[in-house]
C-alpha cells in the first residue's frame, strides 16, 4: 500500500473516532433529555439540544413516545455504525484485508445504514402525519438522517460487501492451494 493511501486511511480513522465520540455524546444527551422530559420537564431547556416535547406529551403520549423512540433509535444506530467502522479500521490488516471478519463487518455496516435510512424515512412520514393531526413538533428534521441517501449508500455497500465476500472465498481457496 502506498504512503499516500496509508496517510488517508489514518486520517479517516481519526475522523471516524471524532464522529463516533460526537454521535455517542449526542445519543447520551438525547437519552438524558428523554428521562428529564418524563420526570422533570422544566429542566429540559438547560439540557443538550433543548428538545422539549412536553406539550406533545400532554397532548398525546403515543405521539411523544413514538417521536422519542425514533430519535433515540436513530441516534444510537448512528453511534453503533461508527463503532463498527472504527472496529473494522482498527482490526483490519491493510496488507491482507480479505478475511471473514472484514466481510462480516462490511455486511453489518450495510444493514445498519439501511436500517437508519428506513427508520428515518418512517420517522419523517410519522412527523408529517402528526402535523396533519394538529401537532406542531419543533424543529425535528435535524434528528433524521437523509433517508434516500442512507438507503442508496446501504445498497452500494451491500454490493461492495457481496463482491468482498467472493474475494474472501477466492483468497481462502488460494490459501488452501498447495
Amino acid at each position: 500500500m502506498s504512503k499516500t493511501n496509508n496517510f488517508v486511511f489514518w486520517c479517516l480513522y481519526v475522523i471516524a473516532w471524532i464522529i463516533f465520540v460526537g454521535l455517542s455524546i449526542e445519543a447520551g444527551g438525547l437519552i438524558v433529555n428523554f428521562f428529564f422530559s418524563l420526570y422533570k420537564p422544566e429542566f429540559v431547556q438547560n439540557l443538550y439540544q433543548k428538545l422539549d416535547l412536553t406539550e406533545m406529551y400532554k397532548a398525546s403520549k403515543l405521539a411523544f413516545f413514538g417521536i422519542y423512540s425514533f430519535i433515540l433509535i436513530i441516534s444510537i444506530l448512528k453511534a453503533c455504525l461508527l463503532y463498527i467502522i472504527i472496529r473494522l479500521m482498527h482490526t483490519m490488516n491493510l496488507s491482507k484485508p480479505y478475511n471473514t471478519f472484514v466481510a462480516r463487518q462490511i455486511s453489518k455496516i450495510c444493514y445498519y445504514t439501511i436500517s437508519i435510512g428506513i427508520l428515518s424515512y418512517i420517522a419523517v412520514q410519522f412527523t408529517k402525519n402528526l402535523m396533519h393531526h394538529g401537532f406542531v413538533p419543533n424543529d425535528l428534521d435535524r434528528f433524521w438522517a437523509d433517508s434516500e441517501a442512507c438507503i442508496f449508500m446501504g445498497a452500494v455497500i451491500y454490493i461492495i460487501g457481496t463482491i468482498f465476500k467472493k474475494g474472501v472465498d477466492i483468497q481462502n481457496e488460494n490459501d488452501l492451494t498447495i
Binding site: 481462502n172 481457496e173 488452501l176 492451494t177 498447495i178
Partner: protein, 73 residues
Amino acid sequence: MPIIVNLDVMMAKRKMSLNELSEKVGLTLSNLSILKTGKAKAVRFSTLELICEVLDCQPGDILEYIDEKKKPL
C-alpha cells in the same frame, strides 16, 4: 470430500518423514500438513510432480477417489 490424499501412506512406504519430504519438495511444513490432513482445496500440477518425483510414485498413489454414496457405513 470424495478425494482422499494418501500422502502419509506413501511416506510410510518410503520411510520418509514430513520434515525430509518438506526439504526435498521445497514446501513448508504447514502446507504439507494441510495436504496430508486433506484440508487442501487444490493441488498444483507442479507440486504433484515434485511429490511424485521425490516419493517415486504415481499421482494415483497419492490421490484416491472414493464415492461417498457407495462408501460402506
